[in-house]
């Protein structure tokens, strides 16, 4: 059971949240100048790392805000959490 500390609501259990994918992923544009390859990369290609990853989570059954989490995909430890407007946590903890 993951315990995630929502920046607004405090520590809550895993079922209250929804995972929202890796960050940062920048939408390419303007659309008329984006090739199919670049668009396909944006939609589908991911790092999917074994180890530390930065990802978005949403507190679905609480404040419904999105925030950024630094998590290890092997140990599930979460060394850092930041609001979407904060600097993104480093991909490896210091």
């Amino acid at each position: 059971m993951l315990r995630i500390e929502c920046p607004w609501c405090g520590p809550r259990d895993e079922p209250e949240f929804r995972w929202g994918g890796e960050v940062p992923i920048v939408r390419p544009g303007p659309p008329e100048l984006v090739s199919d390859e670049v668009w396909g990369e944006y939609l589908f290609l991911r790092g999917n790392p074994k180890g530390f990853v930065r990802e978005r989570w949403q507190h679905v059954f609480g404040c419904r805000q999105w925030f950024v989490v630094l998590r290890n995909t092997v140990t599930h430890e979460i060394p850092a959490i930041a609001r979407m407007t904060d600097p993104v946590p480093r991909s490896e903890p210091t």
Binding site: E14, R46, N48, E55
Partner: protein, 437 residues
Amino acid sequence: MRGSRLWVNRPSMSVTRPRVATGRFSALAIARNAFSFHENWPQLWRTPEPQARYDVIIVGGGGHGLATAYYLAKEHGIRKVAVIEKGWLGGGNTGRNTTVVRSNYFYPESAHFYDFSLRLYEGLSRELGFNVMLSQRGQLTLAHSRHQLEMLARWATALELNGIDGELLGAAEAREWLPLLNQTPEGRYPVWGALLQRRAGIARHDAVAWGYARAADALGVDLIQNCEVVGFLQEGERVVGVETTKGQIRAPKVGIAVAGHSSVLAMKAGFRLPVTSFALQAFVTEPLKPVLNCVVLSMATGVYLSQSDKGELVIGGGLDLYPSYAQRGNLPTLQSVVEGLLELFPCFSRLRLMRQWAGIVDVVHDSTPIIDRAPVRGLYLNCGWGTGGFKAIPGGGFVFAHLLATDQPHALAEGFTLARFVSGALIDEASASGIAH
């Protein structure tokens, strides 16, 4: 009838070829070995040290990697092959799945491929001389509302159009198949009907790995265990071999069949894949007398189960919905699977769960595999099976061997490309089959 009558261009394939067992196993051999307390049985396969070079290296000693090696040797005469496995053979997802085999997919490309794989399963024990314990006891997919029943009707029609066996059952017939189903009027998930594939069933997962391993080894393939690939040898833009914990091994062609670790290896070769790795949990209960004689999947809860020959209920459900490489999964998913199971089969509340574990599955957006050349020359990919790789082991190995041997996609795998993520030609089995794949 079986799938053949609606096929126009049927690719040639050898499906059932009787193969005499190597003679090591027989009632006489059992009697003879009893005198030495069964401690002198010959090894099923050699444990060679890796050679300096091969014609093909396959990274990943699970079902797909081993089947690929077997078909490379058997179908294409390419025997100077090494299968490199970081752990033990079949220790990854091949040893962790819920053993279901079926071919009731939706789109023609999927239907034909998975049915080819199922037909290979039907002849596999004979072909490998190893009992994979295929039991085609049937699979029921349950509908719990009018809308789900309409989905099943659409699905049944697709099966018929693709020449795959499938029947739509009404509520009464479904309940006959499943006498322990919750049939009270207050039940949360009443059964409205079911889709039945009679040729679906289960097979013994370890036996599939071991059968292919032994057969490949007998044809000269080197199976190298406890040997992890830590990098790729490259000359310019080409992969020419692998860097492993047992040294460098060269080959002009390297095929990757590592399921949930596909992105890890791709990263070592400098590219990304449209893959996310999730934990898929599975559970077994204590053994009990026969209570379930088919595979059953509930569309409402995503729970599916069967009863093994040892009497244990083998249960699976949905993914833990965040990326993980830990082969365990977490409590909330376990809880929701058990809740779904007990709502369908209330009497199972008395059972104890003996074991729980997870595999790491490589999920792609359309739940259709990738059998293709990698963006780096010399490297080939067999991945993207997500939660559905076990049923595809024979077919996946067969078409991957074809790609490795000929550099051309097999006709059955033409749509399973990386390019579809650019062109948009996705084969959307995730929504088509109605399950979070």
